[in-house]
Symmetry: C2
């Protein structure tokens, strides 16, 4: 979820300023921050990790050594931030995620379209989207990592969704007789399943189409409904 | 998808009657069929495969040798039916799937509830449901196998869903202005995501709740809708 100049990894708080990289790549245009060099190193490591995962189509073949080489840093620089390959992979996946958009909070319908549009962007993005299946196939095999990925990446998005729905129920825009947990999946699950299970296209208008179909219902108006 | 006494695997058609097993387990109560012994052997092999996968929680550690031992057959008996471990795993997963229920075809709503109830049964079933995550994490890494699993197991269920929706549109029960491919996922995706991504409970009444929510829509009636 971190942006280019805001890469505060988990290790950041536990270490002091870091002229510890044999080679610190320059980040042109990076805003000056508390530890610009450390942030740039972190960014280079995460980018290299993502690049290598994408090239291999797998986490299995990834090695800290290869990441160090690709990022132009020493292995110790990586291990100081992430204890092992798995932690590094999760951090890289988090960094590749598109941020959750600002939600105006005026209309549940409009906020839902915004949130699902962002989810779609994430899923179709070559980098973030390609990672989804890798995460599902490989990270899921490591319960601890999966829990972390779920808690951080997935749960953040779900909480934004719940918030929209709670507001919509409170404003009278949404029905109040359905559990939020059930309602939530009606909106987001179709996009996820399309990508993860069927790996089919996610056309640009799909988020809006799903939101309006779920809001309005798919029953034809008339004697049946 | 095969039931206990109807296990016609892919190899069945390519081989002749089969007194080929060093040890053919007895299947008490099995109906007499064309090749009862062969079907019983196949059943025993698939059951042993599923048992071993469940025990290990993984396909990785599975070996044809272990399956042969557990099923009480020779390795050649297995290889005669399935060319490799992967093909055997797919056949076992197919065999563990609950069959698609008979759909009366009178009401799209009722058929949808029936189909989703069967999907839920499949997902909560210790054996079939436990395999879902194994399939997603391991079978997905083998594109050819995944395609086969998708085409056979998943596609069969999707086609049943499309059929219900087409009938519902034709009868005027469902809206005719939404693509069937979009409508379809609105019903089935929430159950799948709950199980596969979040691994949360699937209460008994959930299929009905989802079907009615999607049919009726989640927008509150009134000025907003």
């Amino acid at each position: 979820m971190s942006s280019a100049t805001d890469t505060d990894g988990p290790a950041e708080s536990a270490e002091t300023a870091a002229p510890d990289a044999p080679c610190t790549p320059a980040v042109p245009g990076a805003r000056p921050r508390g530890r610009p060099r450390s942030a740039a190193v972190e960014r280079a490591i995460l980018d290299a990790t993502l690049r290598l995962i994408a090239d291999e189509g797998s986490v299995g073949a990834l090695s800290i050594e290869a990441v160090a080489q690709a990022a132009g840093v020493g292995k110790a620089t990586i291990y100081r931030r992430w204890p092992n390959k798995e932690a590094l992979v999760i951090a890289a996946v988090e960094a590749a995620e598109h941020p959750i958009p600002e939600l105006p909070g005026k209309s549940a319908r409009d906020d839902l379209v915004l949130l699902l549009t962002a989810l779609r962007t994430n899923l179709v993005d070559q980098r973030a989207g390609g990672l989804v299946s890798i995460v599902l196939t490989e990270v899921k095999r490591h319960p601890e990592l999966w829990r972390r990925y779920h808690d951080v990446v997935i749960e953040r998005r779900r909480e934004a969704m719940r918030e929209i729905l709670r507001r919509g129920v409170a404003s009278g825009e949404l029905r109040d007789d359905l559990p939020i947990e059930v309602m939530k999946d009606l909106f987001s699950a179709p996009l996820l399943v399309r990508k993860m299970v069927h790996d089919t296209e996610l056309p640009e208008g799909l988020p809006e189409q799903i939101v309006d179909a779920v809001l309005r219902g798919v029953a034809a108006p008339g004697p049946h409904s």
